[in-house]
Amino acid sequence: MMYYLKDGSHVLISGATGAGEAFGGKSVLANWWFSKSVSSGLHDMGVFYNPKGLSYVRGEKVRNLREMAEKYREGARLFNFYPHEIAYQHDRLQEFLTELEGSKIVVHDEAQQYTGDALDWFLNQGGNMNEAAPNTGDIRSLVVTQRAWNLPEVNRANMPLKIWVGPYGNEARKFFQVEQMPDAADKIEERTGAYRWSVTDGGEYVTTCKPVPETYAEKPR
């Protein structure tokens, strides 16, 4: 039950976009997922790479590696990383995390803005650090993007868990067509709705969940 939350597989989170209230929820889901993963002890550290500077992201807000390092030394383990330079600092984040001990979970929000070597590394090697760097733990990635089909196929192939958030429409049809998941698409069309999230694993439909708590869409007090 809910194995995908504890499973170490990388996750692609995509969903409907629009101006109405029924749309959105991808980043909120990622916010809930990464913060609970750390608070529950599944991972030693969590980083939400936050190019848009979303105010509701949990954790210590930092803007560069120095701030993150200092907060980490003080005991913080959950970080809201709001970068100045999106692609450049994403690369440096990857190098930083490989130097730290323990397992990590990283949210790559708006991933279509910084597809590059670092994201390739996170998805290809980050989940199997025992081979790459024995002194550190695995890094699980949650990749959030509006247009999943714009990510390279090799990256999408490294994310066996794919999640659709929100209503079913033209974007959903294209998403499931690109991912070649017609059966899952039919089931999700029946079950999804505003802020609901549906899980597929290896192309197979798993479940549809109710929205995560609204508190994760609100600025932390």
Binding site: M1, M2, Y3, L5, K6, W32, K36, S37, V38, S39, S40, G41, L42, R63, N64, L65, R66, M68, A69, E70, Y72, R73, E74, G75, A76, R77, H84, E85, R92, L93, E95, F96, E99, L100, E101, T207, C209, K210, P211, V212, P213, T215
Partner: protein
């Protein structure tokens, strides 16, 4: 933008501190077993203890008494409050069709029963009036 440091230097700074105190807030089992799907935030045993203390000591929201609405309202409550409670418990905005049908049939039955009682009582009243009116024809004879 502040001066950048290398990722390796940053990692050395990060790991130069002490280990963070305490155990994780909740077990991995709790995170895995209380997922959404369910309403509200999954609550672990530790979270529940903190929640109780926090709830007991909370001073917010600090609303003036004259602005507080009493929950006791027998004039407007009753079946309406019960109905609202059912909707809250089941997370349904409207009344399901099946309930509408059952309740509607019952309402029809009650309504017709009332009409029947009212029509019977109206007839009985007319009769008693007739008995009280003196028979003018007999008096003259």
């Amino acid at each position: 933008m502040p001066k950048q440091i290398s990722p390796r230097d940053a990692a050395q700074i990060a790991m130069s501190g002490e280990e963070p105190p305490g155990e994780p807030e909740s077990s991995a089992e709790n995170f895995g077993s209380k997922i959404p799907g369910s309403h509200g935030d999954p609550v672990t045993e530790v979270d529940e203890q903190h929640w109780i203390v926090k709830a007991a000591m909370s001073t917010e929201p600090n609303i003036p008494l004259h602005r507080v609405e009493s929950i006791w309202n027998p004039e407007e409550g009753g079946d309406k409050r019960v109905s609202r409670g059912i909707q809250k418990a089941t997370d349904m905005d409207g009344m399901p069709a099946a309930v509408d049908i059952v309740v509607g049939i019952a309402e029809m039955y009650v309504s017709r029963a009332r009409e029947s009682v009212e029509s019977e009582s109206t007839g009985a009243t007319d009769k008693s009036v007739k008995e009280q009116v003196p028979q003018l024809g007999r008096g003259r004879e």
